[in-house]
Symmetry: C2
Subunit: 142 residues, 2 copies
DNA sequence: AATTTACGTTTACAAATGTAATCTAATAAA
DNA sequence: TTTATTAGATTACATTTGTAAACGTAAATT
């Protein structure tokens, strides 16, 4: 039973650091975020505390202090956010939005090739159009 | 100076209905959301009120009641959300996440072709890899 | 005309979030 | 060993969000 508590925007900053470092002490996280976000040390401590409660982080004691690790991979967390977002938006417009997004963000050659492969496969049984799912039922404007 | 107030998840439900209908009375929105989300009429009214404050909706008087319209297009709103999301996540992993996303969501043939065109163009000057931007500066783990 | 209903506005209230100060116990420095 | 510093835990507090009831006035019904 994986917990589904959402990670907030601020908490996300903390997670990114620990994901990237693999593990980290509060001091390390604080240093980086004080620089990046201009937060007070307390703020970062609070966020770490909340992430512990949400079980997004675990800590192993190292003398007096803790070393924190993430309980979920960055990939999985990102995937969840992205999927959740698109599921809450109009299915009919997802394609266009995605196209625009793809054109905006940085992608490596490898990323692009992977995307091309996925698309080449997907186009085989793609529908001619995707219906809008913004209204419940088949309520239509009369 | 377009206002940048974020639309919350609940408010988003209201917007989707009005976007789809083009314009709508509170009664219409209430009917649909009571059905879809099981909210009380009051709740929907509150959300409409907040969206008015955030200037995401405008109203034209029609007798006693109002007819609401969105001040921003669904496409643009979706685009913003999607862009904002990806900008807050690891640039290095965006590609993989996107690939997974593309494989999961519904896309029409046309959508796919559009994506393919974007990618074909983009691959020309794509970098070999995209750097992780989760840490500020060039702090590296020593 | 009297009454009920509908619609917009105001008020309510708990939980989540952003941001932080303070307290306490342990460790390091003097 | 006394003192200063650190690190985690507790408390704080304003704003936003989710969810809704109550209120006042215009409109529709009786």
């Amino acid at each position: 039973m994986t917990e589904e508590l959402p990670i907030t925007t601020s908490e996300w900053e903390v997670m990114r650091i620990i994901w990237t470092l693999g593990e980290a002490t509060s001091t390390e996280v604080i240093q980086l975020l004080v620089k990046k976000r201009d937060w007070k040390a307390s703020t970062v401590k609070t966020l770490i505390g909340r992430l512990m409660q949400k079980q997004m982080l675990t800590a192993k004691k190292e003398g007096h202090s803790n070393i924190y690790q993430c309980t979920i991979s960055e990939r999985v967390a990102m995937q969840r956010e992205a999927t959740r977002l698109f599921q809450n938006m109009c299915a009919m417009k997802n394609g266009e939005v995605l196209a625009q997004l793809v054109s905006e963000i940085q992608l490596s050659k490898t990323d692009i090739e992977k995307l091309q492969a996925v698309l080449a496969d997907k186009i085989k049984d793609a529908p001619d159009e995707v219906a809008c799912n913004c209204l419940p039922k088949e309520e239509t404007r009369e």
